[in-house]
């Protein structure tokens, strides 16, 4: 306790304008984060990004760990799976994880999927997606590398390469 402090207006101290300005923002912030954590613990996901429920959704987001986790839990990485809106774009799609990773432009994940055996795919369709969205993985798909302009929008890629 500072002697100078005692010489001041300690007795008249109240939640003055200055005290309020200094106290309220950090305290409210702390409380808000705490409430968020408690809410999250009881299942509230209002402020959370949607979590991938299928391997294809995880691949679309580029989340390798979640992709591997869902495969470990039994999902087949070689089957077409549902991808909800806002994972790739506003549309809903049926995609194999490898295709979702290509359309999401996640080259490392494409290679990881190939390494772990997600190798059963329609080569021409995957290459078509890759040419339009992620040409750097064409050689990994067994296709020749090609020059590509700016990546096409996902919906346009679907129109050109076809869907299931």
């Amino acid at each position: 306790m500072s002697p100078r402090e005692t010489e001041g207006t300690l007795k008249s101290f109240a939640l003055s304008g200055l005290a309020g300005r200094i106290l309220v923002p950090p305290l409210v912030t702390f409380l808000l984060v705490s409430v968020y954590v408690v809410g999250e613990a009881v299942g509230y996901r209002g402020l959370a990004r949607p979590e991938a429920e299928t391997v294809a959704e995880a691949a679309a987001l580029g989340q390798a760990a979640r992709t591997l986790q869902l495969i470990e839990e039994g999902q087949n990485p070689n089957q077409p799976q549902h991808v909800r809106p806002n994972f790739l774009d506003a549309g809903e799609y049926e995609l194999k994880p490898l295709e979702a990773a290509i359309l999401g432009r996640h080259a490392e994940l494409v290679r990881l999927l190939l390494r772990i055996g997600a190798a059963s795919f329609d080569r021409s369709r995957a290459s078509c997606f890759a040419r339009l969205r992620l040409p750097e993985v064409l050689s990994d798909l067994g296709d020749g590398a090609s020059e590509s302009p700016e990546p096409l929008e996902i919906a346009a890629a679907f129109r050109m390469c076809g869907s299931y």
Binding site: M1, S2, P3, E5, E7, L18, R21, I22, L112, R115
Partner: protein, 494 residues
């Protein structure tokens, strides 16, 4: 000495009195202090929930497990005595101890230990801040927000390592201040020496413990005696003689790692090419950058990100938040120092003065340790005292005796800015939970990128698989918050 005194008695108290004789006058029941400890514990628990969502990381951690596995503690320590450019024998010893105690529950043990370290640190900080008045209590949330939210602190919690030695040093710094301000006994002297030895054998930043004790003594703290200070000084001398003469160690060279310079990061080859003939300008740049980094939140890691953003016309909102709050806080501390300079010359120091002066002593010497390469977390001890100094400036103002005035709008701006940074560190921790999982998912790629082959024994393979499963298959669910444009206020580079 009575526990409480009246105000009239205190008015006669000299400011030259050492710390341990300053009476406690406004909080005889210590109720404010108890609330402060409770708040600090709550902040630590909040951070712990975020820390416990992060698996043990792959980079800078897995190899540590391999290094300590199957070796006795003495051998782990001995090996680090002769580790070339780095002299940190106790750093890996602490990892070894937690590793052995874990009993194979690596994730729980290491993340739990880190959460415990945060709790201990915040409790020690509250103790050193002496929250014994209403004004002190009101200023505490902002003080802790600045200590936790400052960018130099981020590296102490966002990185696991797997025991973060920077966090260990922060605890040592806070403990040193508590010892320096305690009532002097033989125990405080012995504790001071033990603390210094442990800290400086953990990482080079531990040498700052000596600076803290010396500076604290110079401004009137008498928890450590003059003979003990001499012993501390001899310990520091022995450190340099032992490290550079007896063991023959050398400071890190330019080819050790990449480093920020100007508006970009230079790789070791570029550093050697540009500064190999004369590295002094590079070292000077790093020291000045480190000081500026604490005071103005710019540059970051030696790179002038905010200035670069301004010149490029696209500075990020979080850069404005960081630079404005740090600069405004620095100006307040500077105004306090300027207003009290005449008192300092007369050797009159109150609590705020002591912390401001100790911060001013720690800052340049801490920056010297960043001479080889500037990294924000190296400056975390200076960041700790920066936050403490800011706390005392606010507290003095709230109690109505401050030498400087603070415009209400500025106070609000600072409080909001530090609050945003407080949220930002938690956002960074949540993002870290995801990135650690991702780096484990790409373990094979990581192995390929290592400078040397990494063949694993069956036991090491089992450790790797355990950590991999913890991170990828069994990781706790850590939803990533989506706050829209508000996320641009948070610094995810830390």
């Amino acid at each position: 000495m009575p526990r409480a005194r009246t105000v009239s008695q205190t008015r006669h108290a000299s400011r030259k009195l050492p710390v341990d004789t300053i009476p406690l006058i406004t909080d005889p029941g210590r109720r404010y202090e108890r609330v402060a400890y409770g708040y600090a514990a709550a902040v630590a628990c909040l951070m712990a929930t975020f820390l416990l969502a992060i698996p043990v990381q792959l980079s800078d951690s897995f190899t540590e497990f391999i290094s300590v596995h199957g070796h006795p503690l003495s051998q782990v320590i001995a090996a680090e005595f002769y580790n070339g450019t780095y002299f940190r024998p106790f750093r890996r010893a602490l990892i070894k101890i937690v590793y052995d105690v874990s009993g194979g529950h690596y994730y729980a043990a290491f993340r739990g230990f880190q959460a415990l370290q945060v709790l201990v640190l915040l409790l020690l900080i509250v103790r050193m801040l002496r929250v014994r008045s209403r004004a002190a209590l009101v200023a505490l949330p902002l003080g802790l927000a600045s200590v936790v939210g400052i960018h130099t602190f981020a590296g102490a919690v966002v990185e696991g390592l797997p025991v973060n030695h920077f966090l260990t040093i922060l605890i040592c710094c806070a403990a040193a201040m508590n010892i320096a301000e305690a009532k002097r006994t033989r125990l405080t002297d012995a504790a001071a020496v033990a603390l210094l030895v442990c800290a400086m054998l953990t990482i080079e930043s531990g040498l700052l413990i000596w600076v803290i004790f010396m500076a604290a003594y110079a401004v009137g703290s008498r928890g450590v005696s003059r003979p003990a200070l001499i012993v501390l000084t001899l310990c520091v001398a022995a450190y340099f003689v032992g490290r550079f003469v007896l063991i023959g160690g050398a400071p890190p060279g330019l080819n050790e790692r990449s480093a920020g310079f100007g508006f970009s990061v230079l790789n070791p080859d570029e550093l050697v090419r540009r500064f190999g003939g004369n590295p002094i300008p590079f070292y000077a740049y790093n020291v000045l950058s480190a000081i500026s980094c604490v005071l103005f939140a710019e540059p970051r890691g030696g790179v002038w990100m905010f200035v670069g953003g301004l010149l490029g016309g696209r500075p990020e909102p979080w850069q404005f938040v960081n630079v404005l709050t740090s600069t405004a806080t620095t100006l307040l501390i500077a105004r306090h120092a300027a207003a009290r300079l005449s008192n300092w010359r007369a050797r009159e120091f109150d609590e705020a003065d002591r912390f401001v002066i100790i911060f001013l002593a720690v800052l340049p010497l801490n920056a010297l340790l960043a001479g080889g390469y500037e990294k924000d977390v190296i400056m975390s001890p200076a960041g700790l005292f920066y936050g403490a100094a800011a706390y005392f400036v606010f507290r003095e103002r709230l109690s109505g005796v401050s030498a400087v005035s603070i415009a209400p709008a500025v106070a609000l701006l600072l409080a909001v800015g530090w609050s945003v940074r407080f949220v930002g560190i938690h956002e960074s921790l949540r993002a870290r939970a995801l990135s650690v999982r991702e780096e484990w998912a790409y373990y094979d790629d990581w192995v390929r990128e290592q400078p040397r082959p990494m063949p694993l024994t069956p036991e090491e393979q089992a450790i790797k698989q355990h950590l991999y499963d913890d991170a990828v298959l069994r990781a706790p669910r850590a939803p990533q918050p989506s706050l829209g444009v508000a996320e641009r206020l948070f610094d995810f580079t830390q």
